[in-house]
Symmetry: C2
Subunit: 654 residues, 2 copies
């Protein structure tokens, strides 16, 4: 399509760019708040319902069990029973291991697998999530509280602070859900979580060297250098019995996982492996009296259900601020894992999970937990995956697990007396190795270098610094990237795709053609204060460079600049000033500015700021094609004006 067509087209095909009708301020504020805080419109189902129905819906909203409970069938129960028992067999050894990792009494791991799953079963909306403690939050509790209070010197205070931290984690989680700020969790990007989890897993594995080598003394730091120095400074203390036993069990566990991975039907081999390890290990120690030959054992576990701990919450303690800080950090980490797990399985089975509602459920679970001798729980990935593979249908599997743990607490705790610590260590290591997702890291490198950089920073920060340092670095880098995107938007030159009226980026489509005398630029971000100075300079540089190029090649002068605003989602007053200055600058140089396809928001503000008047409504076009058509029409009908060289006049002024 040649230039002649454009000229013919111009008259009849030009459409006005609409200026949206003004909205009352309160209405638009209300809309903006609603979109920000209630993007999922949770009140939609309440509309046009009688009050009684509203109450039922409200109760079902808070307690999803009321919604699915009445429809529960015996067939579902059979599935849930199997999966519940499977996850209980995983929960018991893992619970004890993670409680040791948090420097808490091992029995707390069992307590934490009893009450919180019951709360979640009533309030949670995921059908696949299995509730329990997690390694990373346990490690974080140990490292953050351990800096203030020594767990072995002052176990009671340490325990009370752990309950208090759990309480505040719950309060914080519930509060985030209630004020609908759940999107804070979104700021932990996938890349951050991959790096962070791998780092935390590395750190947790390193910590297990204590148990594996049967060491008595160990550093309180978590970074790799301190740990290795601590391990290798006491080589004479290494217990070979412990190490050999540990390696055997680790081999067994990894083998079991290897088989399960190859045949998903054999998931139960991997799920049962920790419990069989514990049983085998305990039997072995009991029969050989290995506890007297350097193999440390769990020791006495108290029989009986969770004692209340509401009176242990240390609100008056001088370490309260540490407890609050620990609670918030572990709470957010736990939330991020739990929500991500819930969401992934919901996607598999195609049901919907409301993030904010889940947060309230997690929060309540931890608040109730902190009053019943539990520490921080969430929905761990490994346990939920086993639950899913075992065919769970509803949250009843959590109730089954809770009952299994209850029976263990009531009758079976003495059996764990001889459980060797080294078996627990190998259970943890086996679980942690699965968290180091190097494939995901390779994928990040291939797809997005910056994401990979964030991921590696989080890993290095966690492994060589501390868990918090890694997290802060990764979140800061992620935010920096968002800010950089806005501060340094790209400006693209567009060219005409031959035989069409379509204009696209000349770098992406090398076969595009320039339109003589017209420079078409696209801005691919909102125009905000953070980038308006940059855009002012960058757009001038594009124009300068284009003029230089045309001058050196002896082609016709530049006469029109078309700014494609399709990708400019919004503009603020600094951005409008930038456009006004650009317009003035171009007027002085004898160039004409045209805008193409400004969006509703942009058009509204340009109109209010009178920029539409200044520019002339006739210079705002619906598409780049129409803008080019109009420019060409002018170029061919009006006689071309020479570019008044005011620029040069000014720069020679001095």
């Amino acid at each position: 399509m040649g230039n002649a067509d454009y000229v013919n087209d111009t008259e009849n095909s030009t459409h006005r760019v609409a200026i949206p009708p003004p909205q009352p301020f309160l209405k638009s504020l209300n809309n903006a708040l609603k979109e920000t805080l209630f993007p999922d419109d949770p009140l939609r189902q309440f509309k046009n319902q009688p009050p009684a129905r509203k109450l039922v819906l409200f109760l079902q909203y808070i307690f999803p069990i009321l919604e699915w409970g009445p429809r529960y069938t015996f067939n579902f129960f059979k599935s849930d029973l199997i999966s519940g028992i499977t996850i209980a067999s995983l929960a018991i050894p893992q619970g004890i291991s993670y409680a040791k990792l948090a420097n808490l009494p091992p029995i707390l791991g069992l307590y934490s697998s009893f009450v919180p799953p019951l709360v979640y079963a009533i309030m949670g909306s995921s059908r696949d999530l299995a509730v329990g403690t997690v390694a990373v939050a346990s490690l974080l509790t140990a490292s953050m509280l351990g800096r203030e209070v020594n767990a072995s010197e002052n176990p009671a205070l340490y325990l009370h602070l752990a309950f208090t931290a759990t309480f505040f984690a719950g309060v914080f989680q519930a509060a985030l859900g209630i004020v609908r700020l759940g999107f804070i969790v979104d700021f932990l990007s996938h890349a951050t979580i991959v790096g962070f989890m791998a780092g935390a897993a590395t750190v947790v594995c390193l910590q297990q060297l204590k148990g594996m080598l049967g060491l008595d003394h160990f550093t309180h730091e978590t970074d790799v250098i301190s740990v290795l120095r601590s391990v290798f400074s006491q080589t004479h203390q290494w217990r070979w019995e412990s190490a050999v036993l540990g390696c055997c069990f680790l081999f067994y566990l990894l083998l079991a996982r290897f088989f399960s991975k190859r045949k998903p039907k054999l998931f139960w081999i991997s799920a049962m492996a920790p419990l069989t390890s514990v049983i085998l290990g305990s039997l072995l120690v009991y029969l050989t009296h290995a506890e007297k030959h350097g193999v440390q054992v769990v020791g006495h576990l108290k029989k009986g259900l969770n004692p209340p701990s509401i009176m242990d919450l240390a609100f008056g303690s001088s370490h309260l601020s540490t407890a609050i800080k620990t609670g918030i950090v572990t709470g957010v980490i736990a939330l991020a894992e739990g929500i991500a797990v819930g969401r992934s399985f919901a996607m598999f089975k195609n049901y919907h999970i409301d993030g904010n509602k889940e947060m309230i459920a997690f929060g309540m679970m931890n608040i109730v937990g902190s009053c019943t001798s539990c520490y921080l729980t969430t929905g761990p990935f490994s346990r939920s995956a086993v639950n899913f593979n075992a065919g769970c249908k509803t949250a009843v599997s959590n109730i089954v697990m809770a009952f299994a743990v209850m029976l263990t607490l009531l009758f079976l705790t003495p059996l764990f007396h001889y459980t060797p610590i080294v078996v627990l260590a190998s259970i943890i290591i086996a679980a942690m190795l699965g968290l180091i997702d190097y494939e995901a890291a390779i994928h990040l490198w291939q797809v997005d270098k910056f994401d990979f950089f964030v991921c590696i920073s989080a890993y290095v920060g966690v492994v060589f610094g501390s868990v918090e340092i890694g997290l802060v670095i990764a979140v800061a880098l992620s935010l920096l990237r968002v800010l950089l995107f806005v501060a340094r938007p790209r400006t693209l030159v567009l060219g005409n795709i031959p035989d069409t009226k379509i204009y696209r980026n000349v770098d992406q489509y090398p076969n595009t053609k320039n339109v003589p005398g017209v420079l078409i630029l696209e801005i691919d971000a909102p125009i905000y204060f953070a980038n308006s100075s940059y855009l002012r300079e960058r757009l001038s540089r594009w124009i300068d460079e284009e003029e230089d190029k045309l001058r050196s090649s002896g082609e016709s002068n530049l006469q029109y600049i078309i700014l494609d605003l399709s990708a400019v989602g919004n503009i603020d007053t600094s951005g409008i000033s930038m456009l006004q200055e650009l317009k003035q600058n171009m007027d002085r140089r004898g160039l004409k500015l045209a805008l193409a396809n400004p969006g509703a928001e942009v058009m509204k503000k340009l109109n209010k700021a009178k920029f539409v008047e200044t520019l002339g409504q006739e210079w705002i076009f619906l598409t780049v094609g129409e803008a080019v058509g109009a420019c060409n029409f002018m170029l061919h009908t009006c006689k071309p004006k020479p570019t008044t060289d005011e620029t040069e006049k000014w720069s020679n002024n001095v």
Copy 2:
């Protein structure tokens, strides 16, 4: 154009969306860094030049005076002489006033108008900027240093800390310029500055009540409540002589400004008014001996040029951290004002200012200043405007001003002995009232409510809290807005503009028509970790709502979803996962997903992540029009598939 046309078009008009060729990693990293840190390509002029020329260019780059100096003419000098003398007449009384505001010896105000302008004249690239001290930075110095050291009890330490703060302000400013992080200043948006300046002006005016009422004791706080309490708790101390004198001079100054504003030719009336006020006031006091009747005077000013102060820099002081903090905060504020002023006048006269280079000039000016008994200087708006109106041509006007101040320092300081403080107070108030730009605030309200909110927050923060609180609130709100934009992108439904192949937002263009069976959505922000969860939910909700609507109206089923990615500037791995999940989810519901116009960066990443394969290259279109065409072609040639109601199957599962 009916559907039939689309079908006919589909075959021959579809264009492939290009996947940009892969770039070597180091090359793309290099490009990205260059665009981020060197958007103005400062090395462009050095390319292809012989070494000797390069050296000359380099020296001219560092010292712009070498560039314009040789072309300087006598005609320029005549203009610069007049403007230089004009700004000197403003600089002398303002300098004394602002130094008093900073709780520093008044003579420092004169020192600061001597050395820094000379440095700037050599290194600065603005032709219109007049260098001097500013009220806001003076007040900030007083409030931040005053919290640590009492200026009246320990004047020497206070003075040394002020020099040290100036030194660090200079170092910080120069460092920002050298590492090319000048864009940090851009994060102070126009709205922030309007609110902040108005707040600071209000606070400064309130501080002048001390001088106006002739009070001896005054609060060290700057917030309105403390100040008013301090003023009204000592009503018996008010001196009516002082107040009457002050009001008269204030009236005179405001009247002069009023006339100058109405006739820009009379700018000199306003410019000279402060000096005539000082002369009149001093004469009045000298003749009536008013200093013995409650009118405070400046008192003795030392004769002679700036003494060196390099040995006074208090690097070893225990208050060093306060000095550094003060330096950084005042340095950034001063930089923001100076750069903005330089840029606005450069725009008027159409020459270019390199922000990073200016920062180095400001930094050097303050480093040299701190070694020669000057405190923080920048390019104040009022003085530069007078300079501009007086017809200055180059930075020589700053040199003229410096010489005029030098002569004053050498010979005229005794004349200021009887200058009444109250006259200085009215000079400050008159200058500050001009900074309260309520018209700009009204404009913000009309154009952009959020900007207005930021502006008012800054104002309220400064007036009721402190200068730093106001600043922190405003910057945090501005950043929050950028983050919110990314965290909550808008998703727009597009419709067909009748008789075209153009698709636009149905809210902005009410005459658009839906395409039966096809839902077209546009995302107007990059898809990042911060918004991918939100987009996942929001897109599902659009689809749900559309299906509900079609079902209730009995229309044909929804079959195609077209995502217009024109405005999606970038995507990260979280965003790609979101698209993959969306695709899976839609497959399960029997819907087809098509993408329209993904950009180069997005296409590259989708390809690397194998999403292009998963989706099928044939489902990625260059324009929405082509995508709709293809969908319509399928709808009419293939027999419509019933939507497999897997959704319902799943949700009835329990």
